[in-house]
């Protein structure tokens, strides 16, 4: 790819990244961090490419290690984020606090 195209992509992605999280409520900081964490697990795509090109058994071992680690990051990240968000959703809003947890026992 030519460098200017790359630079364009990077600059636009930086702005999008800044924009999408700049107004996030502090209530959701933990899931947001966990979700962003899952997204960089997409390094799995890179790990698959290098594993698919590795000829030497040593290099293949290293590449497969990268695949395992990246999968853990990607899959684990999305699963754990979903688990957290499941607890945030689910309940209907706009009932007084006194209802607090008929469902908690």
């Amino acid at each position: 790819m030519d460098p200017i195209t790359l630079l364009t992509v990077v600059v636009l992605a930086v702005f999008v990244g800044f924009e999408v999280v700049s107004k996030v409520t502090s209530k959701l900081h933990t899931p947001l961090m966990s979700g962003a964490n899952a997204i960089h697990g997409i390094i799995l795509v890179g790990a698959i490419i290098v594993a698919g090109q590795a000829s030497d058994p040593w290099l293949l071992t290293i590449a497969l290690t990268a695949v395992v680690l990246a999968t853990a990051n990607l899959v684990g990240g999305f699963v754990v984020t979903d688990r957290m968000l499941e607890m945030f959703g689910g309940r209907k809003p706009a009932r007084p606090a006194s209802r607090a947890g008929e469902d908690s026992k």
């Binding site: 899931p31 962003a36 960089h40 680690l69 990607l74 607890m87 607090a100 908690s104």
Partner: protein
């Protein structure tokens, strides 16, 4: 398999990138968050299927087996982890992602002739290794396998400087020659830098470091996109790097701290080196029964939960206490400081797990104006986030941090383990205020006893 041509491949990667943007966007609001996360996962699936269908790959059965192993390890852990241990898991996943990026880069070194691409290789390896080692230390601190106090040894700044200079030199050699031996040396130096960077960080600042290392891994993945000529990795990594940076800044300012102060504060001696000196000034200590009376006959109670509650795993007990009080007609809300818990926003997750309704959780800006109308502020396992020194004592380590102004409530009750100061290591004047009472003990024990007493009223 090369079923997909370059055009279609690029198109599917674009779809995946858009999914990731929508995922982050969705995560910024509670209503759309879960759907957003599902969209992100779908994008990841599209990207992984695309790479199998587009690139010429050998070893496909082994790769699929490796993916199966990674999933088989990660999914059960992610499903079973306790919500109190969430920060460790996030840090762990972040670390392995950084490690994967570093390994991918070192393997691509042989295919990289262009010095600019080699520079991207060097960057990915170094930052990935820093993120891996730094996250490992973070996990250790959060699990309390390593002391949560800043760890320093004499000459540490000199060692750090030597490691940084060594890494720059090794990186330069790799860019110039493409030497694999020097690349390995660079990774080792990166690991050392990660350790040295995070060991001196105090326990209270660890959450910020998780977020910062998350941004680091994002940047490493972005650079790996340049190495592999893969736009998806570039976009996804940059997105995470940028959003992680913003998130780190937002969190740091919620704590009234600068990011550089957190990372390098210990080197200058200005970190959160929590003092353990106990004060012997007199305080009014109380009994569970007295606290129960105070709470049970109040009209409005604001509960301020903190780190100590998370440690004692008292979130379910406090939710029950809120129900018991509400049943007596007491208005109960939770005031959540942005950095309460072991990770910013962590307390919201813990209370959500304990089924406390979302609308009973008030953020700092919502909670503060209501304290003058509050009869009792019940502070459970928190200290620094209610310490008036943040407003009144310029020069205090927490000066400038927004606090919950519990002093404006009619009465203040602290459930505390001991008189030990909080992480910031400064005394809380509020503890000695005439309208303050203290109930000492483990947060969960104290809450259980107060709950029993409230039910007996």
């Amino acid at each position: 398999m090369s079923v997909l041509g370059p055009g279609l491949t690029a198109l599917f990667y674009l779809v995946a990138a858009v999914c990731f943007i929508l995922a982050l966007k969705g995560l910024s609001s509670p209503r759309t968050a879960r759907r957003g996360n599902a969209i992100g996962a779908a994008g990841a699936l599209v990207a992984v299927v695309t790479v199998f269908l587009s690139a010429k790959l050998e070893n496909i059965p082994l790769i699929i087996a490796a993916i199966a192993v990674g999933s088989a390890v990660a999914v059960p852990v992610a499903r079973r982890v306790q919500m109190t241990q969430m920060p460790q898991l996030v840090a762990l996943f972040n670390g392995v992602g950084g490690g994967a990026a570093a390994l991918v880069a070192v393997l691509e070194l042989g295919h990289s002739e262009d010095p600019w691409v080699r520079l991207a290789v060097v960057f990915t390896m170094l930052v990935g290794a820093v993120s891996f080692a730094g996250s490992a230390v973070t996990v250790g601190k959060l699990q309390e396998l390593i002391s949560t106090r800043p760890l320093l040894f004499p000459g540490m700044p000199v060692v750090m400087a030597a490691v940084v200079l060594g890494a720059v030199a090794a990186g330069g050699i790799v860019v110039a020659t493409g030497s694999v031996g020097w690349a390995v040396a660079l990774m080792v130096l990166g690991l050392a830098a990660g350790l040295l960077l995070v060991l001196p960080v105090g326990g209270a600042d660890v959450p910020i470091v998780i977020s910062l290392l998350n941004a680091f891994t994002g940047l490493a993945v972005a650079a790996s996109g340049i190495v592999l000529g893969n736009v998806l990795l570039l976009v996804a990594g940059t997105l995470v790097g940028a959003s992680g940076t913003i998130l780190t800044k937002v969190m740091a300012s919620a704590m009234g701290r600068g990011v550089t102060g957190i990372m390098f504060g210990a080197f200058r001696g200005g970190s959160t080196a929590g003092s353990t000196v106990q004060s012997d000034r007199p305080v009014r200590s109380s009994s569970p029964e007295d606290v129960a009376v105070q709470l049970g006959y109040a009209q409005r109670v604001v509960i301020v939960p903190g780190y100590g509650l998370a440690v004692a795993q008292g979130q379910h007990t406090i939710a029950e206490l809120a129900i018991a009080l509400a049943a007596r007609g007491v208005e109960v809300v939770f005031a959540i400081h942005p950095v309460a818990g072991r990770m910013p926003g962590h307390m919201n997750v813990l209370l959500a797990e304990a089924n406390v309704p979302y609308e009973a959780l008030k953020e700092l800006e919502e909670a503060n104006p209501e304290f003058p109308n509050t009869d009792v502020a019940l502070i459970v396992g928190a200290n620094d986030v209610v310490n008036p020194a943040a407003k009144s004592t310029p020069g205090a380590p927490i000066y400038g941090m927004p606090i919950l102004e519990v002093a404006q409530a009619g009465q203040v009750v602290f459930l505390k383990r001991s008189m030990r100061p909080g992480f910031a290591g400064i005394e809380n004047e509020l503890l000695f205020d005439p309208k303050t009472t203290l109930l000492f003990g483990d947060a969960k024990d104290s809450l259980t006893r107060v709950l029993g007493a409230v039910k007996a009223l």
